[in-house]
C-alpha cells in the first residue's frame, strides 16, 4: 500500500458546508432494464474512447489473418487467391469475430479485479444489465471488425453473389450468434481468477473449434471422421449460414441449427453467468 500525496495545486478542499445541497432526498424511479443496460453499453463505448488501442485487436488482427491466408493458401487451395477469397472471406469473418468475443470475458474479469463490480452489484437495477451492457459495447466492436474485413475483401476482389442484402443479412446473423456465444465468456470471466486464465481457457476452446470448421477449407476434402466432426462444430453452422447468405442462397437448415444453438447458449451460459454474478 502506498501513500499518494494530494499536493496537486488544483485540488481544492471539500466544501462540507455545501453538502446539505446535494442531499436532496427524493430519488428518481429506478431505470428500466433496457435503460440500465444501455447505460452500461455507453460505459463500454467510453472505454473504447479512452483506450482506443483496444480497437487494434479488432482491426489489425483480422486484416492480417485475411491477407495471410488468402495469399498463402489461396493458390494451393482454390487455384488463385481471388477464387479462394470468394469461399474464404465469410469463413475468416466468422472466425475473426468469434475470436474477438473472447475479450468480453477479459473485460468482465478485469472489472471484478478492480472492485468496480462491487458498486454495480449494490445498485438496485435489473441484475443482468451490466452483462448485457458489455455485450452491447462488444456489438459495436464486432460491427467495426466486420466492416473492416468486408471492405478489405471487396478491395481484394471478393464479389458476393448475395449483394448488399446478402452481406448485411450474413453480418446480422453472425452478430446474433456472437451475442449468444459471449455468455460463455462472461461465465468464464466470473469463474476464473485471473485474466490470463480467462484468455488461456478461451483460446483453448476457440482455436481448435475455428480450425476444425468449414472456415478455411471445404469439409468434403477432409477424411470422413474429420468431416463428421467438422459437421457438428457450432462454428461450421455459423460459417455455412453466413457463407450461404452472402452468396445469395437460403441456408435454411444451418440457420435453424444455429438458432437452436444460440438459444441454448443463452439459456445455459446466460443462466450460469447470472448465478455466478449473484453469488460472487
Amino acid at each position: 500500500m502506498t501513500t499518494q500525496s494530494t499536493t496537486s495545486p488544483e485540488l481544492s478542499a471539500p466544501r462540507t458546508d455545501e453538502l446539505a445541497k446535494v442531499f436532496i432526498t427524493e430519488r428518481p424511479p429506478r431505470p428500466s432494464a433496457w435503460s440500465a443496460s444501455a447505460t452500461f453499453g455507453w460505459r463500454a463505448l467510453l472505454k473504447i474512447k479512452h483506450v482506443p488501442e483496444q480497437l487494434f485487436d479488432v482491426t489489425l488482427f483480422p486484416i492480417m489473418m485475411t491477407l495471410m491466408f488468402t495469399y498463402l493458401f489461396g493458390g494451393a487451395l482454390a487455384g488463385s487467391p481471388t477464387d479462394y477469397l470468394q469461399f474464404f472471406l465469410p469463413g475468416i469473418l466468422v472466425v475473426s469475430i468469434v475470436m474477438i468475443t473472447m475479450y468480453t470475458g477479459l473485460s468482465v474479469n478485469t472489472d471484478i479485479e478492480k472492485g468496480v463490480f462491487d458498486r454495480f452489484r449494490t445498485l438496485p437495477i435489473w441484475r443482468p444489465a451490466p452483462m448485457v451492457g458489455y455485450l452491447l459495447g462488444d456489438g459495436f466492436r464486432y460491427a467495426i471488425a466486420s466492416t473492416v474485413i468486408i471492405v478489405m475483401g471487396l478491395i481484394l476482389g471478393f464479389r458476393p453473389a448475395g449483394g448488399v442484402t446478402g452481406v448485411l443479412a450474413g453480418v446480422a446473423v453472425l452478430l446474433a450468434f456472437c451475442f449468444a456465444l459471449s455468455w460463455v465468456w462472461t461465465m468464464f470471466g466470473l469463474l476464473l481468477r485471473s485474466d490470463k486464465s480467462v484468455m488461456g481457457v478461451s483460446m483453448m476452446v476457440v482455436m481448435p473449434l475455428s480450425f476444425l470448421s468449414s472456415a478455411y477449407v471445404d469439409p468434403a476434402t477432409m477424411p470422413n471422421w474429420l468431416e463428421a466432426l467438422v459437421a457438428v462444430n457450432p462454428i461450421t453452422f455459423a460459417v455455412d449460414s453466413v457463407r450461404g447468405l452472402m452468396s445469395g442462397e437460403w441456408p435454411g437448415t444451418d440457420l435453424l441449427w444455429l438458432s437452436i444453438l444460440s438459444v441454448a447458449l443463452v439459456a445455459i451460459f446466460g443462466t450460469a453467468t447470472m448465478r455466478l454474478y449473484n453469488r460472487k
Partner: protein
C-alpha cells in the same frame, strides 16, 4: 432509541476451512457513525460485504432498516451505498463520467445526471479534475470520488470500508470532515478501520472485532472504562530520584508504574476496573493523582510536569486481545 439501522445476529461466513466471520452480533443505531475496529484479516470487509448484499452469509441473519439482506436484498440495495476498501470507481473513465454513469443507473435523466455530478464534484473539491481519467488521480482524490459516487443516491446507510487506509494525513482529515458532514445530513455511517484514533475521532459506538468475533462493544467511554481508569504521566526534575518516585507512586496509586525511555519520565497505569461512566472514573483518578502528587512533594521530589489521560484505544486493544493491534504499515 429510534429504529436500528443495522441488526445482526450470529452472522457467519466461511471461505472453505477459513471462518472469516464467526458469529457476529451488532446493533447500529440510526443516525450515528458506528465504528468497526479490527486488525487486518479480522473480518471487517467480509462483514460489510454481507450487509451490503455482496456476499451471502452462511449463517445468522442481518437486517438493514428492518429488511433482511438475503430475502429482501433488492430493498436493501435501495437504501445503502458502499465505498469499498479498494476503490470502486472506473479508472479508465473521467470523474464526471463515473458520476454520470452512476446517476443514470440510479434513474436520473441525462440532464439531471450531468447537473448532479457537477454539483458533487464541486462539493467534494474535485471540479478541477473532473475531466481527467481517474487513473491519474491521487489516492485522496480517488477516495473522494468514491465517496461522492456512494452519496449520489442519498443512501440512508453508508458503508465506508477503511476509507483512509493509505492516505496522507491531510487527505485523511478531509475524509473525516466529509464523514461528519454526511452524518449531519441524517445518514447512518458504518465505518471500518484499523486505526484506533480514527474510530475515536468519528464513531459514537465502536465494536472491536478480532478473528471474526466481536470482542468488545460500546461507547468509547465504556470501552476505555472497561479496562481501567487511565494513566498518569509524570516528568521529574532529577533523574536520580526516579526509583524513589516510582515506589511512592506505586504505593499511593496502587498502580503499575512503568519507567519510560526518557530517564525522567514515569507512567502509572491506574488499576480501576469499574465499568462506570467516563466521569466517575475520571473523578476518582483525579483524586488519587492529587494525593500522589502531594506525597511526591512531601518527599522533596520536584515534578516538572504531569498529565493524566484516559487509556488510548491502543491500550484497549492490547488489554482485550493480549496482543497489540497490528496496523498495516503505511509506507
Amino acid at each position: 432509541m429510534t429504529e436500528a439501522a443495522i441488526e445482526v445476529r450470529g452472522l457467519v461466513k466461511r471461505f472453505g476451512e477459513n471462518v472469516a466471520v464467526d458469529g457476529i452480533d451488532l446493533t447500529v443505531p440510526a443516525g450515528t457513525v458506528y465504528g468497526v475496529l479490527g486488525p487486518n484479516g479480522a473480518g471487517k470487509t467480509t462483514t460489510v460485504k454481507m450487509l451490503a448484499t455482496l456476499l451471502k452469509p452462511d449463517g445468522g441473519e442481518a437486517r438493514v432498516f428492518g429488511r433482511d439482506v438475503v430475502r429482501e436484498a433488492d430493498d436493501v440495495r435501495g437504501l445503502v451505498s458502499m465505498t469499498g476498501q479498494y476503490a470502486s470507481v472506473d479508472e479508465d473513465l473521467t470523474g464526471t463520467e463515473n458520476l454520470v454513469l452512476l446517476a443514470r443507473l440510479l434513474g436520473y435523466s441525462k440532464k439531471a445526471a450531468a447537473a448532479r455530478s457537477e454539483l458533487f464534484l464541486e462539493t467534494l473539491g474535485l471540479t478541477a479534475a473532473a475531466d481527467r481519467q481517474v487513473k491519474n488521480y491521487s489516492g485522496g482524490m480517488r477516495r473522494r470520488l468514491d465517496i461522492a459516487a456512494s452519496l449520489l443516491s442519498v443512501p440512508k446507510l453508508l458503508f465506508l470500508d477503511e476509507p483512509t487506509t493509505g492516505l496522507d494525513p491531510r487527505s485523511r482529515n478531509q475524509v473525516w470532515e466529509i464523514v461528519r458532514a454526511i452524518v449531519d445530513q441524517g445518514t447512518t455511517v458504518l465505518l471500518t478501520t484499523q486505526y484506533l484514533d480514527e474510530a475515536d475521532q468519528l464513531a459514537s459506538r465502536i465494536a472491536v472485532i478480532d478473528e471474526g468475533r466481536v470482542i468488545a462493544e460500546g461507547t468509547k467511554g465504556e470501552l476505555k472504562a472497561s479496562i481501567g481508569g487511565g494513566s498518569v504521566h509524570v516528568r521529574l526534575r532529577d533523574s536520580s530520584r526516579r526509583e524513589e518516585a516510582a515506589t511512592l507512586l506505586a504505593e499511593t496509586l496502587g498502580a503499575d508504574v512503568q519507567r519510560d525511555a526518557d530517564p525522567v519520565a514515569l507512567t502509572a497505569r491506574l488499576r480501576e476496573t469499574r465499568t462506570a461512566g467516563d466521569d466517575a472514573v475520571t473523578e476518582l483518578a483525579a483524586h488519587q493523582t492529587g494525593v500522589a502528587l502531594g506525597e511526591l512533594a512531601r518527599a522533596g521530589i520536584i515534578v516538572d510536569s504531569f498529565s493524566m489521560g484516559q487509556p488510548s484505544l491502543d491500550e484497549v486493544f492490547l488489554a482485550l486481545t493480549n496482543r497489540p493491534a497490528v496496523s498495516e504499515e503505511v509506507a
